[in-house]
Symmetry: C2
Subunit: 360 residues, 2 copies
C-alpha cells in the first residue's frame, strides 16, 4: 500500500442539518456522532491504513483554518485550497495534480468528509481491495447497497462480475444515473443491480489524468499548467489565474460516466450521508424508549416521550412526544416531526430570501 494516498473532499456546505450546520460551520465540522467531528472521524478511520503524510484534504479558503485545527497531525501542505468552490471535477483534478507531482505511481482514494461509516474495519478492507483492483487499471467506485428507493442519491449499475477478493464481489460498472425519480428508484431497488453512488472512488492518478485528457481536454490543459507550478513561487498566481476557467462539472459527469475501465464494489458497511436529522437519528443509538440525545452534556428528562432526537447542550424536558426532532443551538431552536426533517431546507430558503443572513 506504499503508493496509496487518500483525498478527503471537505469543501461542502449544505443546509440539511440547519440550524446546527451553518455557512461557517458545515456538517463535516460538527461532532454529530460522539465527540469527534465527521471530518475527524473520516481521518481517524484511515489511520490504521496510511500515514498522515499521504492523506490530503481539499477545501475552501473559509474552512481551511478550522480543518487544520481539527487535524493537527496532517502536514500543512496536504491541505489543497480551492480559490473558490468549483464543483468536484476541478477539485479532484487539482488534488490529483498535487499527488501526481509527488508520486507518479500514486493510487488515490477520493473520500468524503461528512459521511458516517459504522463498520470501519470493513471500510478499510474494501479500500485495500479497491487499491488492488485499481492497480489493474480500473477506476473503482464504492457502491452502497440501497435499502429504500432513495431519490436523493446517484446510482451505479453493475455489469458482469470481474472478480472476488477478500469476500467482496467486484463488478464492471455499467453506468451512472443521476438522482432518479421515485418510480425509477423503485425499479432500481427491485432489480438488485444498482448501488448508491457513495462519492468514493479509487484509481491510479495517472489513469485518472488520462481520462481527463480524453474526456475533458480543456480541464486537463489547465491542470497540467497548475501541476507544473506546484511547489513553485508562482503557484498561487497561476492557480488564481487559471481556476476561474475551470468548467463547473461534477466528477461523475465529467469523468466517471464516460470512463473506460470502471469497476464497482457493492458494500454494506453501515454507511450514512447523515443528510437529514432523520438520518442522524438512524445512525445514533437510542435509549430504552428510542430517544436519541446528542450534544455537550445534554440531559433529557422525559415522560412518555419516544423515538425523538434531541440535539442540545442543556436540560431538555419533554412530555408525550413521538418521532420529533428538537435541535437547540445557541441562537435558534428548531422543532419538527422526524419524517419532515428534510423540509428544513424550506426554512433556510425563506431566511435566505428575507435577506437576513444572521442565522444562515
Amino acid at each position: 500500500m506504499e503508493n496509496f494516498y487518500a483525498l478527503i473532499m471537505a469543501g461542502g456546505g449544505g443546509t440539511r442539518l440547519w440550524p446546527l450546520s451553518r455557512k461557517d460551520r458545515p456538517k463535516q465540522m460538527l461532532p454529530l456522532v460522539g465527540e469527534r467531528t465527521l471530518f475527524q472521524m473520516a481521518l481517524d478511520r484511515l489511520q490504521p491504513l496510511l500515514p498522515p503524510e499521504r492523506i490530503l484534504v481539499v477545501t475552501g479558503r473559509d474552512q481551511v483554518a478550522q480543518l487544520q485545527a481539527d487535524a493537527p497531525q496532517l502536514p500543512a501542505e496536504n491541505f489543497i485550497v480551492e480559490p473558490f468552490g468549483q464543483n468536484t471535477a476541478p477539485a479532484v483534478g487539482l488534488a490529483a495534480a498535487h499527488v501526481q507531482q509527488r508520486n507518479p505511481e500514486a493510487v488515490l482514494a477520493v473520500l468524503t468528509a461528512d459521511h458516517y461509516i459504522a463498520n470501519e474495519e470493513k471500510f478499510r478492507r474494501v479500500l485495500q481491495v479497491s487499491v488492488q483492483v485499481a492497480r489493474d487499471d480500473y477506476i473503482v467506485t464504492l457502491g452502497i447497497s440501497p435499502t429504500y428507493p432513495a431519490t436523493g442519491y446517484g446510482y451505479i449499475k453493475r455489469g458482469e462480475p470481474l472478480t472476488e477478493l477478500d469476500g467482496f464481489h467486484i463488478y464492471h460498472a455499467e453506468g451512472f444515473t443521476e438522482k432518479p425519480n421515485r418510480e425509477t428508484a423503485a425499479q432500481f431497488l427491485l432489480s438488485g443491480l444498482y448501488s448508491w453512488n457513495s462519492g468514493m472512488f479509487i484509481f491510479q492518478v495517472r489513469q485518472l489524468m488520462e481520462e481527463y485528457a480524453r474526456q475533458q481536454p480543456a480541464m486537463r490543459t489547465l491542470l497540467t499548467r497548475i501541476q507544473a507550478a506546484v511547489g513553485q513561487e508562482a503557484y498561487a498566481d497561476v492557480l488564481s489565474q487559471l481556476w476561474p476557467q475551470m468548467p463547473r462539472l461534477s466528477i461523475d459527469y465529467a469523468v466517471m460516466e464516460g470512463a473506460q475501465r470502471m469497476a464497482v464494489i457493492p458494500v454494506e458497511m453501515g454507511w450514512s450521508d447523515v443528510g437529514s436529522w432523520a438520518s442522524l437519528f438512524d445512525v445514533l443509538e437510542g435509549d430504552e424508549d428510542g430517544n436519541v440525545t446528542q450534544g455537550e452534556n445534554p440531559k433529557h428528562i422525559h415522560l412518555d416521550t419516544r423515538d425523538t432526537l434531541i440535539v442540545s447542550d442543556r436540560v431538555v424536558a419533554t412530555i408525550g412526544l413521538r418521532d420529533l426532532v428538537i435541535v437547540d443551538t445557541e441562537d435558534v431552536l428548531f422543532v419538527c416531526p422526524r419524517e419532515r426533517s428534510q423540509d428544513v431546507r424550506q426554512i433556510v430558503e425563506r431566511l435566505r430570501k428575507s435577506g437576513d443572513e444572521t442565522y444562515l
Copy 2:
C-alpha cells in the same frame, strides 16, 4: 369608596408554569401576558379605583424586594411580609390587622397577584358593587362562571337572590366545596348553581375580625397582639415570636365556609388563573395559524405549524407541529402537547426527588 382598601396576595409559588416559573421567580413575577408581570397587571387594573396608599401586598421575605422593584409607586409600609409561608388564613389576618389599625372602617378586597382578567372595566365595576354589598355586613366572594367541569378549583353554591346592582346578580352564598372529583364537578356545572371560587373576597375588616374571633379564637388572639405592635419598635420581634403559632389553614376553610353572612357575585370577566401552559395559550391572542408567541423579541419562523404556544426570547423555527407547547428558557427547554401541559408537575416532582435543585 374612601374607606376601600385592596390587598394583593403575592406569596405564592407554584410549579405549573415550569420551567419559566421557578422557586425564586414565581408566576406573578413573570411578564406572561404582554410586557408587564401578572403582579403589575393586578396593580394596574386597580389604579382607576384607588390610590397606591390604599393598596397593600402580602408576600414572603424572598419575594418582597423584587415585588417592591416591580411596584415603586406603592409605599414601602404597604408590603406586609410574612416571616415564612403559613397558608392564607394567617396571611389575610395579618394584612387585615394592619388595615384595621390604619382605618377601623375599612372595606378590604382580597385579590390575587397571579391571575389574568381580560375585562378590567367589568372587574372594577364588580368590585364597586361588592363594596356596596360588603357595607351591608356581607362577606362577598367573586364567583367565576364555570366553563367546564374543572377539578382544580373550589366551588361556591349560590342560594337565594339577595339583590341586583349595576347589572350584577348578587346571591346568598350557600356553601363552599373544595376541589371536587370529575363527576361532582360535572353535576355542579349542569346545575347552574355553582361558581368557581376565584379567591377574591370583599368585606369590612371589622366583620372579618369578628369571624376570626368566632371561628378561630386562637388565631384572633395572636392577630390582636400583632395588631397592637403595628408601627411599634417591637413589631418585628412580636411577629416572629407569634407567627409560628399560627395554624396553617386556608381562609376558605378557617373563615369563609363558616361565615354567617356570605354573598356571592357570579361574574364573567375573562378570568384565568393562568394555571397551565394550556391556559396561557387560551388567554393570549394567536396569529392567523393560531400560533401564540410570547417572550422578549421572539421570532417564530414556521411551516404548517398550528395552534402552538411558543415562549422564547430567540428564533424558533418549526415545521408541521400541532397543539404543542414550547417553552425555551435560559437553562431549560420544555416541549409537550398542549393537552398534557399540566403534567409538567411530574417533571418538577422528579427533579425535586433527584435532589438537584438547580432547575427548580
